[in-house]
């Protein structure tokens, strides 16, 4: 019983991290129609920005995390505004552009910081003990920040004019533009929001998991899994799917061992893509 509860906590904590990542990914696809291959790159970049801010500038961790989120958001904004925006309607071209950016980010990090993992540890350590259960404090902090992040995203998308504008653009760009919404301003902002989320997650999670130039690859694969499962472009679907994937990963890692759980997930997603490309919650397949 204790094992199950502990594993569930790991699953929820993983799920919250994945949700934060996948929300950014799915927003970009839903609003801009872009599959962002550089998403894992922004995650790693967030980790390295936070690490540099702490080690070289002596910033406190919380401030470093905010710097990482803002830094990755700024890069995302510039990338969308000056490169991606020119070819925004060509799905394969934007895909190639983000792929190119990903290669540049990850090799840039490799060149700057070298292949070895830097010493980047979470500032709070320790274990919380209650009712016979043990919970690492860092996981709780990350979980709290992730949940706060997810709630803010929901509030932003569903409760503000900015969110309404983004949803209108995702729904029908021509009509939304005719109503006076400006994709030239909103698209880079949305992209920046999403990459900032990836950077935030990276800064939060890499001190606990690991920080190395290549850790973006599995993150990209997991983001893919989640958004396909939840339906490309669906915010609610991505959130549910993220927790689902987190749970499956936690339980299969503890009880099955190896990568059988991951294999099962990937096969599930493959079947999902073929049978219902719109995912668990996606309403319609976007014209792609």
């Amino acid at each position: 019983m204790q094992g199950i509860v502990a594993t569930s906590l790991i699953g929820i904590s993983l799920g919250a991290q994945y949700a934060l990542l996948a929300l950014g990914f799915t927003l970009i696809f839903g609003i801009l129609g872009v599959v962002n291959f550089a998403h894992g790159g922004f995650y790693v970049l967030g980790g390295y920005i936070a690490y540099s801010a702490i080690s070289f500038l002596g910033m406190p961790y919380a401030l470093a995390v905010i710097t990482a989120a803002l830094g990755t958001a700024a890069l995302g904004y510039l990338f969308e505004r000056f490169l991606l925006d020119r070819l925004i309607d060509d799905h394969l071209a934007t895909l190639m552009l983000t792929l190119g950016l990903y290669m540049m980010i990850s090799s840039g990090i490799l060149i700057t910081f070298g292949p070895q993992s830097p010493a980047f540890a979470f500032p709070l350590t320790g274990v919380l003990r209650a009712y016979g259960f043990y919970v690492p404090i860092e996981n709780l902090v990350v979980l709290a920040v992730c949940v706060a992040g997810i709630v803010s995203i929901y509030a932003l998308i569903y409760r503000t004019d900015f969110g309404r504008a983004l949803r209108a653009l995702a729904d029908d760009r021509a009509v939304a533009t005719a109503q006076g919404l400006r994709p030239k301003v909103l698209f880079p902002t949305a992209f920046a929001l999403a990459t900032g989320l990836a950077g935030l997650t990276g800064a939060l999670v890499t001190p606990i998991l690991s920080l190395a130039p290549h850790v973006g690859d599995p993150v990209l694969a997991t983001s893919f899994l989640i958004v396909i499962l939840g339906g490309l472009g669906s915010v609610g679907g991505a959130t549910v799917a993220a927790f689902l994937v987190g749970m499956v990963e936690a339980f299969s890692a503890v009880y099955l061992g190896g990568s059988k759980g991951a294999l099962a997930l990937f096969v599930l997603v493959l079947i999902m893509l073929v049978v219902k490309p719109s995912g668990l919650f996606g309403q319609r397949a976007r014209g792609a």
């Binding site: 490169l83 290669m103 694969a221 893509l273």
Partner: protein, 341 residues
């Protein structure tokens, strides 16, 4: 309309003949040089080009595939298992196996995934490469798991061993040539069909083209060509290991085809040769080659959509036209069928 189509076909034929001739020319290398560095570079270029052909075939149908490493792995492991378990060493039999097994595997798979287009196809093929890795690690009885397969017997050609450096390069060249011939034959024979699918699949279907027929066939052939590259890779490394077929290696093959120029076969040859050679120049600092690939992809997508071959041939056509002082001949364009979206 017939004249531009005809001349485009002529340009395509030139590119195909040039590609085949360039690859065949590598047969001379083992007889004029015994520099192992050149052998290694030639092997790598040819494997890259063969894998890029696979991407090229799929791009004919407006499908961008990430699944090349998957089929390379199937081809490579097929030959390793044939050699280790069944003692098959004949290079022709192994080559046939490395083509047919991935191609046959692609048929049922294609029935599922070819229903998807655009971004969804990209995603499903990316997921396939991840599954490939996991399957390779999770089936140690067949694939050696994380140790891979080592100690394959030396391949033979009618009884004579092909074990030394020189022979390995000859095998790779032979496989690349086979891949080029198959690619040329298929894309030439089905040029109109593929072009119709690329332009507008729905329209092609409503005009009576049995679209899935040609897509499945193209997918199977592309898988087979990847398998040949996989065999060449395993034969060169003397081992079949999951890391040789990593998911992100597919990005390199796509980069070769697109940076070289996706509208002709020569693009894959030029792209593969240029980029592998450039990567080799930075051999000591491998990370710089990834940086360069990424940068070049961005440049090509933004500024030179036709890639190296397309841009060069357009410039040459323009120079030729101005020398003869007549308007630009459509023949100088890469192909008349490339859709400008």
């Amino acid at each position: 309309m017939s004249r531009p189509a005809l001349s485009a076909s002529r340009v395509g034929a030139f590119a195909e003949i040039a590609s085949i001739a360039l690859i065949a020319a590598v047969f001379i290398v083992p007889f004029v040089s015994d520099n192992p560095a050149i052998y290694s570079l030639a092997n790598q270029v040819l494997i890259a080009v063969t894998a890029a052909f696979s991407v090229y075939i799929m791009l004919r149908m407006n499908l961008m595939t990430f699944a090349v490493p998957t089929f390379m792995a199937i081809g490579g492991y097929t030959t390793a298992v044939l050699g280790l378990r069944l003692g098959v060493t004949d290079v022709l039999l192994l080559g046939l196996g490395s083509f047919l097994v991935p191609a046959l595997f692609a048929l049922p798979l294609g029935a599922l995934v070819l229903r998807l287009t655009g971004v969804y196809f990209v995603l499903v093929t990316f997921v396939l490469t991840e599954i490939t890795q996991l399957v390779l690690f999770e089936t140690p009885a067949w694939t050696g798991g994380s140790n891979g397969l080592i100690g394959m017997p030396v391949v033979t050609f009618f009884g004579s061993d092909l074990g030394d450096n020189r022979a390995v390069l000859l095998v790779t060249t032979g496989l690349a040539l086979a891949g080029a011939l198959i690619t040329a034959a298929v894309t030439r024979t089905l040029r109109q069909h593929f072009a119709a699918i690329e332009e507008n699949e729905l329209l092609a279907q409503s005009l009576g083209l049995v679209v899935w027929h040609y897509k499945a066939f193209g997918f199977a052939v592309a898988a087979g060509v990847s398998g040949l590259a996989g065999f060449a890779l395993v034969n060169m490394l003397l081992t079949a290991h999951p890391t040789s077929f990593s998911p992100l290696s597919s990005v390199n093959y796509i980069a070769y085809a697109i940076i070289g120029g996706k509208s002709s076969m020569l693009g894959s040859v030029v792209g593969g040769a240029l980029l592998v050679w450039a990567g080799e120049m930075f051999a000591l600092r491998g990370e710089y080659s990834q940086l360069m690939f990424g940068f070049l992809i961005v440049v090509v997508v933004l500024a030179a959509r036709e890639g190296v071959v397309g841009t060069v041939s357009r410039l040459l056509g323009r120079i030729g036209a101005s020398v003869k002082s007549r308007p630009l001949d459509p023949a100088s364009l890469p192909t008349a069928t490339e859709s400008q979206r």
